[in-house]
């Protein structure tokens, strides 16, 4: 099709036009159908995971392995802290009790605890075990003198207000062994208690713990559990006198999903509207909106398809980052549209653009491919997604889109405004020494900045706002929750050995408390003694006739009737014949849950955790742990920092390799050193400037910033390549300027919107990319554009050409 055919209205040519148009419609239909099929398969295949571990490198030390297990499925991550506030303590205590009772049988929760001692904690069939679980027999025997002392105390209990509810239990348990067991099972560091339930220090908030059946990173089931919680609370407190605060990893994942979705929707809509307006303004035809969107859509769906085929599951972060990185694909159709004009069929245009476009795409793709070797699953997914996406976008722009475009319209090269703009850009001084000075200034700023270069805190990787994390820590602190940094780990061949070892270190641990190294600790053997200990206690239980005799002596003068303690004699007899209680016998009782958190099976056999409270002297703990070969002091903060820094090393190596490959590809494509220099300088300089700006603003670099910088570099490369390609032809220069302005404006708009987000991660990415876009554009214009085009003849002729048409 030539420019002339538009004016030719003869019948055959109209038919030809119609058949061309109908083939274009068919192409569009087929294209959309293919996208729908891709989308359908990807959506059917794809599981969206939110497990943060996918973005961390494979652990190598035992500490790192433990850390990752804790982050993922550790029972600790499933425990929600509930706080009731806003009413009188009495009313809050009542609501706390009702809430605990209502959720006790709910399958969504493994346990709900509010501090109340419940006689039901030990099911009937386990009741006789109380003599093996309680430590009474370690120090006493059930002889006449001990029993006499106990019976005297029970008589006093009976005469006290507690007598009313103890009365029916006394015949079975005159030494109150059950109470001693239940007390043993209370948290090692008892939280404040008001009206029999847990409260914070000020007595303003009633506190509860609820462990969900669903893991923390299952937002859907977490959401259901939290809804049930709120519903139960609402039904007891219909007047809304109290406020229920829920905190914990599960709640965070629900909250972040909602918030991210809400904000992404808003930002997405705003960006889409802005984009449509920009495209309409730039190309003055509605169809341009469709043309510019199709390659991007193809990129997204191809990326999804690729990840779902290769990995089956895709991490939520991969999706977010992936869609961020393929944003560059939006630029491909823009270049085509800006160069497309009435006297130049789209296919011809794209053939001319292709070498430049392909160089950009190929070098970016090769750079991303290095992520496949990063050893981090999330980054591998990201690479597959991005490479597939960019390839799809560039290939559709090259082969499908031109065939969809009809006749070209106005030539952006003829724009007077762009001509003026170009000439004023031309008048700008060329950066030669300035770029060197800029680079040195940026490096100096980075090296002198007091802000740590890298963010080592694993916590900062989560998108959860700091206030919520602080609130969570404060609530857990009020509940006397264990130290979040230090933990002792006991390795053993099986769980019984682990329990025995815990019993062995009980005394040294108590000494550490006395010496002020910490204020408390908790471990599995507190809940369930080893079989050996249980057997030892069992051995100390008297046989029936001995017990009857001792009881007879003890009862004389006690005021209790003879024979009332027969049920006690029966239970002791049963206890004497029991097999020791093992972890696997506990079923789903609250006890089993406690135990599961502290005693787990591992590859080596079994592993027990000793959680610590109020650690003041980590060195003493370390010395203690080093005195035994089976003991390890786990420094979760240290391990997580090591892990993050390892992750960064992986990424930096990948990036280093990527840069080398990128330079190689560009050098191969452009051949001349001066051209390579002009193309790469803006991108390199922008990266330095962006890093320096972040550092000067007190921001340490995290994974998110690195991803953003990569996108920035990819954009910069494209801008520079196109400007460089525009060479000496003024019309081409103006078309390129048009294209790059549309590209950079659209990108800037999207990421400036992200920079306004309330979610820290989105803000980090938005800010960094916006900065990079501006810097890349300016530098590309000033550095990469061809040598001074002050050749008057070329200039004049171009001008004349513009005037003519």
């Amino acid at each position: 099709m030539s420019a002339g055919s538009a004016n030719d209205r003869s019948a055959p040519s109209r038919r030809l036009g119609q058949s061309v148009r109908s083939s274009r419609v068919w192409l569009l239909v087929l294209w959309l159908a293919a996208l729908a099929v891709l989308g359908y398969f990807a959506q059917r295949q794809l599981q969206i995971g939110t497990d943060l571990r996918l973005f961390l490198p494979k652990p190598t030390t035992p500490e790192e392995r433990l850390l990752l297990e804790e982050i993922g499925e550790g029972a600790g991550s499933r425990v929600l802290v509930l706080a009731l506030s806003g009413s009188s303590p009495e009313a809050l205590a009542d609501i706390s009790r009702e809430l605990a009772a209502a959720l006790a049988d709910n399958p969504a929760f493994r346990f709900v605890a509010n501090g109340e001692l419940s006689m039901d904690a030990l099911p009937e069939e386990l009741l006789p075990y109380r003599y093996l679980l309680s430590d009474t027999l370690d120090e006493h025997t059930f002889d006449a003198s001990y029993l006499r002392e106990q019976l005297r105390a029970r008589a006093r209990d009976l005469a006290s207000p507690a007598g009313a509810f103890l009365e029916s239990w006394l015949p079975r348990d005159p030494t109150l062994e059950l109470l001693s067991v239940l007390q043993r099972w209370q948290p090692a560091q008892e939280p404040n208690r008001l009206y029999d339930v847990w409260f914070d220090k000020d007595g303003k908030r009633a506190l509860l713990l609820a462990e969900t059946a669903a893991p923390a990173f299952d937002p859907e089931r977490q959401r259901q559990a939290i809804e049930m919680l709120r519903q139960a609370h609402g039904s007891f407190d219909s007047n809304h006198e109290s406020t229920l605060t829920i905190s914990g990893a599960g709640q965070f994942s629900v909250l972040m999903e909602q918030r991210t979705r809400g904000e992404a929707q808003f930002l997405g809509t705003a960006a889409s509207i802005g984009m449509i307006l920009l495209v309409l303004f730039a190309y003055r035809r509605p169809s341009a909106v469709l043309y510019s969107a199709l390659p991007l859509l193809s990129a997204g769906l191809a990326g999804l398809f690729m990840v779902s085929v290769v990995f089956g599951e895709v991490h939520g972060i991969t999706l977010a980052f992936g869609f961020t990185l393929i944003g560059v694909a939006q630029d491909y159709p823009v270049h085509l549209l800006s160069h497309w004009r009435a006297d130049r069929p789209a296919l011809t245009v794209v053939r001319e653009l292709w070498p430049t476009l392909a160089t950009g795409v190929a070098s970016t793709c090769i750079a991303y491919l290095t992520f496949l070797f990063s050893g981090v699953t999330g980054l591998q997914q990201l690479a597959s997604f991005t490479v597939a996406g960019l390839a799809a976008a560039s290939l559709t722009t090259r082969f499908l889109l031109p065939r969809l475009l009809g006749e070209g319209g106005r030539d952006s090269g003829q724009s007077q405004a762009l001509d003026r703009l170009w000439r004023s850009i031309d008048a700008l001084p060329r950066l030669k020494w300035t770029s060197l000075i800029l680079a040195i200034a940026a490096i100096v700023a980075i090296s002198l900045s007091e802000t740590p270069m890298w963010e080592d805190d694993l916590g900062k990787l989560t998108p959860v706002p700091v206030e919520l994390i602080q609130q969570d820590q404060e609530l857990r602190g009020a509940l006397g929750a264990a130290d979040v940094r230090y933990m002792l780990v006991v390795n053993a061949t099986d769980r019984q050995q682990a329990l025995r070892k815990l019993e062995e270190i009980q005394q040294p641990l108590e000494q550490l408390i006395e010496r002020g190294a910490m204020t408390g600790f908790d471990h599995a053997a507190r809940y369930l003694p080893s079989a050996a200990t249980q057997l030892a206690r069992q051995k100390k239980l008297p046989d029936t006739s001995t017990l009857r005799e001792a009881l007879g002596h003890a009862q004389t003068g006690s005021g209790f009737k003879a024979d009332v303690f027969e049920p006690f004699v029966n239970d002791v007899q049963k206890a004497k014949e029991l097999q020791p209680l093992l972890p696997e016998d506990l079923g789903t009782s609250p006890l089993a849950t406690n135990l599961e958190m502290l005693l787990t099976r591992s590859d080596q056999g079994a592993r027990a955790f000793v959680t610590l409270n109020g650690v003041r002297d980590a060195a003493a703990l370390r010395a203690f742990s080093e005195s035994r070969t089976d003991l390890l002091l786990l420094d979760l903060k240290g391990a997580s920092e090591a892990l993050v820094s390892k992750q960064r090393t992986h990424i930096l190596w990948s990036l280093g390799l990527a840069s080398i490959l990128l330079v190689g590809v560009i050098a191969l494509a452009l051949r001349k050193r001066a051209r390579v220099y002009r193309v790469l300088l803006p991108m390199a300089l922008t990266t330095l400037i962006a890093m320096a700006t972040l550092q000067l603003n007190g921001i340490s670099l995290s994974l998110f910033h690195l991803i953003a910088l990569m996108l920035g570099a990819g954009l910069g490369l494209d801008y520079a390549l196109f400007f460089e390609h525009a060479a000496d032809d003024p019309l081409e220069q103006r078309r390129t300027l048009h294209a790059v302005i549309v590209c950079s404006l659209s990108t800037l708009m999207v990421f400036a919107l992200l920079a306004a987000s309330t979610i820290p991660v989105l803000r980090a990415i938005g800010l960094t990319v916006s900065l990079a876009v501006v810097s890349n554009f300016l530098l590309a214009v000033m550095v990469a554009r061809a040598r001074a085009t002050s050749n008057p003849s070329t200039h004049a002729s171009a001008h004349a050409e513009a005037q003519q048409s």
Partner: protein, 204 residues
């Protein structure tokens, strides 16, 4: 006359509300007591004496001074019992309806608020102003099963005894005021205590 149980002391009916109003004392109020605790587990009732301090509607302290020292604090929904040389014991009031009954009854007597009592008990009053008997029967089935009834006897504006349960199911009898010369020969029964209560009232 002396053998009459509190339950059977039939006389003209009194207005319970008026009686309760008359018994009103400003909080904090404090009263000495001697309690006889009956139980199927025991051969003989346990006897303790001490002082009850009523500080507010939901705040009652019970101090045992003889034969050992013990302190019970009932505050809101929670009860704590401390005894010399023993572990502190706490529990929720809902586990001991007996105690809640006691608390409500006391609160009502001392604040003169009969409406509060009616929320939990059916009230009847018998006798005359000089010697009366106030009976509280729990409305809630579970509480009723545990305590059946609370009977308070007294004369004028002074209560003399509090019976928890009745007859063979008597759980406890509390005599108010000082009883220094109370000596039993033979078995202590709720009936004999009832007699003492009536005599005490008559003496006043």
């Amino acid at each position: 006359m002396c053998l009459l149980l509190p339950i059977s002391s039939q006389a003209s009916d009194l207005d319970p509300a008026a009686l309760i109003e008359r018994l009103k004392k400003p909080a904090p109020a404090s009263i000495a007591f001697k309690e006889f605790r009956f139980s199927a587990l025991l051969e003989q009732p346990l006897v303790v004496s001490g002082e009850l301090n009523y500080l507010a509607a939901d705040h009652l302290q019970r101090f045992v001074k003889e034969p050992y020292r013990e302190k019970t604090i009932i505050r809101g929904e929670s009860v704590r019992v401390e005894r010399d040389g023993e572990k502190l014991r706490t529990f929720a009031l809902k586990r001991a309806p007996e105690l809640r009954g006691l608390l409500t009854a006391f609160g009502a007597l001392l604040t003169g608020n009969s409406e509060a009592v009616r929320k939990q008990f059916e009230i009847t009053a018998t006798g005359e102003a000089a010697r009366w008997e106030l009976k509280l029967i729990p409305l809630d089935a579970r509480s009723k099963e545990r305590i059946q009834e609370i009977t308070i006897t007294g004369a004028g504006d002074t209560p003399s005894c509090l019976f928890m349960g009745s007859g063979v199911n008597t759980q406890s009898v509390m005599l108010f005021g000082e009883h220094p010369n109370l000596i039993f020969n033979g078995e202590v029964s709720p009936e004999r205590l009832s007699t003492i209560c009536n005599e005490g009232s008559a003496a006043q």
